[in-house]
């Protein structure tokens, strides 16, 4: 069965230059392992195809039930010169939670 990450986790987006930083945090600690297995850097790269243009690096924070994704080349050349309406990519947290995973 497929489920949206929205059902399992919450998220926050931050920015540094042309890099987006996406935190994915399991509501229940027992779901962290499922997220760790399914929400790989490759899966996130594919989900954000055309949006995150560079490398996606993932950090695991099991103590916090969280995964941290750092996506390069994601903000239209950089927050301060981007033409996007959401230049900071603040709404990319919601974009991440639209991803579906097999559970």
């Amino acid at each position: 069965m497929k489920r949206k990450l929205y059902d399992l986790a919450h998220a926050r987006a931050g920015d540094k230059g042309n890099t987006t930083i996406l935190s994915l945090i399991a509501y229940k600690p027992e779901d962290f392992e499922l997220l760790r297995v399914r929400v790989t850097p490759e899966a996130v790269t594919q989900h954000f195809a055309g949006i995150i243009k560079g490398k996606v690096t993932r950090y695991e924070l099991p103590g916090l039930g969280a995964l941290q994704f750092v996506g390069e080349g994601a903000l239209g050349g950089g927050v301060t010169t981007s033409l996007a309406i959401d230049a900071h990519g603040k709404s990319l947290s919601a974009a991440l939670l639209e991803m579906e995973i097999e559970v």
């Binding site: 926050r12 540094k16 230059g17 509501y27 941290q68 750092v70």
Partner: protein, 441 residues
């Protein structure tokens, strides 16, 4: 555990709400109040104001914030630490002294300068983001190094009621009072890391107490119109309990704190500030009471030998135009409108961004399957040019859709604005000479 010190955060960005700081100063039983008011672009914009007027360049809300705060800070013995000095801490300090005189208060203000390093940069120096030389990005007009605790300590030690800085690292606004209060050495990496965790949790104000978090029905937050901003009770080891003033809106729990701990952290193993390389991976967050969390477990390694510098440059002009369509087939009409504008502007812009707000504005496309058909959409066209008149063409062309575009276009708006770009570079620490100047009313 030893005596604790209490630090509150009353503003998390330049334009933040005014009253959370007043509530903290009046009812928070604080030792220190921090106000973080300086984003990367904010200081560049302040630098432009100072270039126009040598008495300007400090935070444009300084007068309003301080007029309300000074009487409460003096009455309750709370010291203020803020980066509202922006591009001109000396003029800002003089202004605070004038405000204090008008209020009949005796106030000492310590202004920290030295972050302005524009004349120290080498044009051949590489931009961190792109690797190209600084000289290649456009006309530079500001460069501010992120100073830290070491530079702030003399201002803390001056005993000033208000410590007013320009560019310092955001968490340093909390760490400097902690290091001063507990006498932590500047190479005490573990305590500095834990103090940095506290500063990082506090620095965005309401983002720890339910702001940038709420999602109705999923993550409900009560009283968001009156969010209480956070304070931390910190012990001599840097462990902390965080909460907010009773009776204020918002919520603080493990979820809000985890979101904020990881916010904008590009490497949780090594969060770099001028003060420390902080490792967040061992941080533990426990809920210890209603709207109360305990935070422990940060570890640190030696601080970087270089300081990050934020460089402002003129990046041309952005032109923008918007118009709305509604009802049956509205997406197709908005798309047609976008194609018309793009055809008329062909060849004049390196990049022309055409968004259908409601469908593709935020993420260029819906991020999941299913029916995403909206009842109404808004066309937005944006582009950049080195020249203002060319940028203005975008809004003008969108506006002509009133009479020349698809059926039922309404609510056209146009805008042209100067764009200030920001890039970063590094500067060896020893090249920065900071100074503290004390003013008294």
């Amino acid at each position: 555990m030893g005596k604790k010190v209490r630090i509150g955060c009353g503003a998390g960005f330049q334009g933040d709400r005014l009253e959370p700081a007043l509530i903290l100063a009046e009812h928070g039983k604080l030792n220190y109040l921090m106000l973080e008011c300086l984003a990367e672009r904010t200081i560049a914009l302040a630098q432009l104001r100072r270039l126009n007027d040598p008495k300007a360049g400090y935070d444009t809300l300084l007068e309003r914030r301080l007029t309300g705060l000074l009487p409460l800070l003096k009455k309750n013995g709370v010291r203020l630490v803020t980066n509202m000095g922006a591009a001109n801490p000396l003029a800002g300090a003089e202004r605070i002294v004038e405000i204090a005189r008008k209020l009949g208060l005796k106030v000492r203000v310590a202004a920290l300068t030295g972050d302005d390093v524009l004349d120290q940069l080498d044009p051949q120096q590489k931009v961190l983001e792109t690797g190209e030389p600084l000289s290649g990005i456009g006309p530079l007009f500001s460069a501010n190094a992120y100073l830290g605790v070491e530079e702030m300590l003399p201002a803390m030690e001056s005993g000033a009621d208000v410590v007013l800085t320009g560019r310092v690292a955001d968490p340093s606004l909390a760490l400097a009072p902690l290091a001063h209060h507990f006498g932590w050495a500047v190479d005490d990496a573990d305590r500095f890391a834990r103090g940095t965790v506290v500063g990082h949790l506090l620095e965005c104000g309401g983002q720890l107490t339910g702001g940038y978090y709420a999602d109705p029905g999923k993550k409900d937050v009560p009283g968001m119109a009156h969010l209480g901003f956070p304070f931390a009770d910190v012990d001599a080891e840097g462990n902390a309990t965080l909460s907010k003033v009773e009776g204020t809106g918002g919520v603080i729990n493990r979820m809000t704190a985890t979101e904020q701990l990881l916010y904008e952290v590009t490497d949780p193993n090594a969060y770099l500030t001028p003060d420390v390389s902080a490792d967040f991976t061992g941080v533990a967050i426990r809920e210890t009471g209603p709207d109360t969390i305990a935070v422990t477990g940060g570890r640190g390694r030696a601080r970087p030998e270089t300081l990050k510098v934020s460089v402002g440059y003129h990046a041309g002009y952005i032109g923008e135009g918007e118009i709305s369509y509604g009802g049956e087939n509205c997406v197709a009409r908005a798309q047609l409108a976008g194609e018309i504008v793009a055809e008329r502007l062909r060849g004049q812009f390196q990049e022309l961004r055409v968004d259908i707000l409601g469908v593709s504005g935020l993420h260029t496309r819906p991020m999941s399957d299913g029916n995403h058909n909206p009842y109404e959409v808004r066309l937005r066209v944006a582009g950049r040019s080195g020249d203002r008149a060319t940028a203005t063409l975008i809004g003008e062309e969108v506006e002509t859709l009133w009479c020349n575009g698809p059926a039922g276009g309404g609510g056209a708006r146009k805008d042209t604005r100067e764009q200030i770009g920001i890039v970063s570079c590094l500067l060896p620490r020893h090249r920065v000479k900071s100074q503290v100047t004390v003013f008294e009313s």
